[in-house]
Amino acid sequence: MTSSTHPFEQEEVMAYLDGELSANRAASVASHLRECPECAALAEQMRDVSTQLSNWGVEPAPASLTKSLNAARAERAVAKVRKPRGFAGSLDGKFLPVRNRWVWGAASAAALVILLLSIGLPSLRREQHPVGMARQLAYVQQAEIEQKAKNEAAASEAEAFIAQARTSPAPTPEATQPMIARSASVSLIVKDFGPLEASVKAIAQRHNGYIASLNSTSPQDAARALTATLRIPSVQLESAIAELKQLGHVEQESQSGEEVTKEFTDRAARMKNARATEQRLLDVLRNHTGQVKDILATEQEIARVRGDIEQMQADQQALQTRVDFATVELSVQEEYKASLQSAPPSTGRRLRNAAVEGYRSVVESVIGFGVWALQSLPTVLLWGFVLFAPARWLWKRLRRTAVSQS
């Protein structure tokens, strides 16, 4: 069945069945199917394939999906309390109905406790470590006496260490959409410099952003200038830039975006692997009943892996912030109006200035001579020493010649 014998390709018949053709084309195909048994048979086979595929059902989604999703949403809500300035945090506020504000308060308190624990536990762990070692040493001494005894103390220490190591598991975010770290640069020239700083701050605040740095200069005989780095939620970047551009005449504007999806995904994968490694090490530690040096080595390895995980979490968080918040480099120059000098300096001032300049000139020339002398003297002495003998000899010979001629 080809277009030479049929007015429609087979794929077009299929597209007709899938409702993918335009109305006119679909009417033509439908008409052809009524007349062409071959194409009608193809259409029937297509329908039959779809019917047979519909036999492939799956079991209903487990009820735990709803529960686990709700739990994950609750965790997510609590986690976001720890990011008060984040754009996502401001979104969360919108997500909460008014009647649940007391829940939000409770979540904030829980987040505070988690924060305090996360700060306090690492130092606690460091302090408890020697205690754990001592207890394990005591166990080994006991084990040497009673070869068949179980290592209860070491087991309890291992449990304690496991409990500590599991204090701050962080969720691994998935980069499901392209992640773009956006940045922009805007240079403006403004006539009215006075309210500029307040305007820039207001724009950043209005767009749920903040000012990362701000530097303003006001030289006496030159135009005033302001440079600022603004962090604006990426979704509001365009509107924020539009407002900034209204502050004055745009001299230069540029925008760029860096895709960090791969970096984010790779790091998430590395974090997952590191967590799996940590879990295996914790299992080893939990079941270990051997030498204390092996236990200590395992603990050291766990601490190293945990450090790596925390470092990666911090980097991941920083990357997420770069994606969530675009960076805007703002540079503003005042339109310079040269002002007339109010009055020439007085004679006394001019004489004083001249005296100061004269003194400076003398000091500079003395220092300059000293510098020259220190730089050149060694060379002059060297060549003087080298050339003294031949010069003396030449001088004496010339004198003898002059005397003999006279």
Partner: protein, 180 residues
């Protein structure tokens, strides 16, 4: 009834009820999406959960140009691809046949095995197009966007997939295992 697209726009405005409604509408279909592509039911459940969390997290990125269904399954496909990349698997493969056959209500388990084995025998790109069309009910254009392929390519793959499946299903069920 409020449309899916209206609901996601309400979600953008912060409506929890809109998200709950979307979840109830698509819970089974998203779970089915993963379940048909992987053997491990627990893993399918986890990825379905991740998909809905991603919808929640990225709701502000939704633009009304696309249908919500295409947006949702686009996210699900990305999550599945990411999961398979991490697991070192081909991004379009189906896990090996399950030891325990799912218990689909109202369908004959023999047919389920038969159809599943037949689909597994298709080439991976053609199989993915077929699944997205038959079960997720996406248009050619929506499938093309998700797979980042031209629409004509999607149409050709779908046609080849259906033709191949017709041939495979025409054989007797008993021959499937022997031929595999």
């Amino acid at each position: 009834m409020t449309s899916d697209e209206q609901l996601i726009l309400e979600l953008q405005q912060g409506s929890e009820e809109a998200f709950t409604e979307l979840f109830l509408r698509y819970r089974e279909r998203v779970y089915g999406f993963f379940r048909r592509r992987m053997n491990d039911a627990a893993q399918a459940e986890e990825l379905a959960q991740e998909t809905f969390l991603a919808v929640l997290r990225a709701a502000h990125r939704y633009e009304p140009r696309a249908t919500f269904r295409a947006y949702l399954f686009g996210i699900a496909f990305n999550i599945l691809s990411a999961h398979r990349r991490k697991s070192g698997l081909d991004s379009m493969r189906i896990d090996s046949a399950p030891d325990e056959v799912p218990d689909p209500s109202g369908t004959n388990p023999d047919n389920v095995i038969w159809v599943r084995q037949a689909v597994e025998r298709l080439d991976a790109p053609e199989r993915e197009v077929l699944l997205l069309r038959e079960f997720e009910e996406l248009s050619y254009e929506e499938i093309a966007k998700i797979l980042r392929a031209p629409v004509n390519t999607v149409r050709s793959r779908l046609f080849r997939a259906r033709m191949a499946l017709r041939e495979i299903l025409a054989t007797t069920p008993g021959n499937l295992g022997a031929r595999k």
